[in-house]
Amino acid sequence: MNRFALVDCNNFYASCERVFNPKLIGKPIVVLSNNDGCVIARSEEAKNLGIEMGTPAFKSETQFKSLGVEVLSSNYALYGDMSARVMSTMRPHIPGMEVYSIDEAFLVLEEWQGESFARELRATVRQWTGIPVSVGIAPTKTLAKLANRIAKKTPELNGVFDLTAASDSDKVLARVKCADIWGIGKRLAARLACGGILTACDLKHADMAWVRRELGVVGERIARELNGISCLALEEMPPPKKGIASAKSFGRPVEALEELEEALATYTARVAEKLRAGRLLASHLHVFVTTNPFNSEQSQYTAGAHIGLIRPTNGTSDLISSALILLRQIYRPGHQYKKTGVFVGELVADTNLQLSFFDNPKNDIHRRALATAVDQLNKRLGQNTVRYGAMGTTQRWAMRQERKSRRFTTDWNQLPIAKA
């Protein structure tokens, strides 16, 4: 039986901040959106104080102060780098992985990899990166999500829950409300409630024909997944929320940079297409390479790198050139590479892109025309035919980020300080 694990970083942004600032350990932390607008992330302590997501920062200034809440601007350079570290720590240990968002990944597990493996993996990620994670194990992705939720909400489980080892999984599912099932929003939950279906257990045992009639194929797929029938493969993804990934293993080991470039450019183009199809723009790009961890006779190497895109984009050419720059940074000769891939994150809606002061709306039209033209060229001539080199601009949007921590891992001038 195939099993999936969902690994989710606990309060990821707050945890990243704590790795480099011990003073924040044990304190309530909130992280603000771009421009210090509202709360987008909270530590456990902040959640326990009843601070809600989306709380406007300027209105709550005095409240935060009186509660002793540490308020931070978002530091995507740091979160992106830490995310890449968490992912590349896990990657060599498992046969397959899908980076689902900046702080979540689905893993495919080997037959022998169960709860104790998950505990070891969790401890390794914690030691190597400082980031605490929770792991849910189940026969399907939907159930793995659900198991992860239980692992997180039940402190006695110490961060790992293996649903396949539960004596009575129906009893577990009966405690999960429909609205908390992956892919079921409030609206679908309300419709299910009309049919008397209130929990994941109810939905699991519901009449499939009825579910299909009421919720369509998507709902039916979720119900099947709750029954342990895997309908979502590792790389197939529901409408993306936080990120899109594309990665594949090679048919044969690859050593030359040129070959890796070709593969990565292809995957990046696919990601760009997916972005455009979803009318989304990416603000973050992450690239990785890895050798085959199961061939013990080969030298092993795994590396990842990421870049924040100054101007969020879904342009194939922009994304490819950034991806290739990153690839050249992490590539080391002399290894037999098994896999490369790309992940874009911090997605924003295409229509919501705020023009910066210097931007001319006409440029956007040109950019789009260019992207389409490049797409077509690349389609015809091969993915890495057209490349742009000049991505290294350092202009940044003038954002309000008054309480931003340093770029501890991406800037030599902002390294953490150790007193001697």
Partner: protein, 123 residues
């Protein structure tokens, strides 16, 4: 795509081209777990660690006795030599004017990472 090819005698070095050395290969054996940390202060000068130096810190290593570590102490990072002695734990400076720090039983010592290299600017 075409590239211009210079006609003429090939360089005798062409067959021996190798990629230039990358310091990352030398200094960073585990990229996911390796962090760089800047030193402030002189308490470790006899170990060759001066203010302004950059430490290569590997978090995947488990600190053993006598290794130089970055530890969390009173909400700050500190770089010191770890010493275990009869069940007592010390953070030793490498500078006669700084006494060893004894970690008392009710104090929690968190080792953040093990220092593997020191990068010191020579001029």
């Amino acid at each position: 795509m075409t590239a211009k090819v210079q006609a003429g005698f090939p360089s005798p070095a062409d067959d021996h081209m190798e990629k230039s050395l990358d310091l990352n290969e030398h200094l960073v054996s585990n990229p996911a777990a390796t962090f760089f940390v800047r030193v402030q202060g002189d308490s470790m000068k006899d170990a060759g660690i001066r203010g302004g130096d950059v430490l290569v810190v590997d978090r995947s290593l488990t600190a053993s006795d006598n290794q130089i570590v970055v530890a969390m102490l009173d909400g700050d990072f500190t770089v010191k030599r770890l010493r275990r002695n009869n069940g007592c734990v010390f953070l030793d400076a490498e500078n006669a004017s700084f006494p060893p720090i004894e970690i008392s039983e009710n104090q929690e010592l968190v080792i953040w990472g093990v220092v593997t290299f020191v990068i010191h600017q020579a001029r």
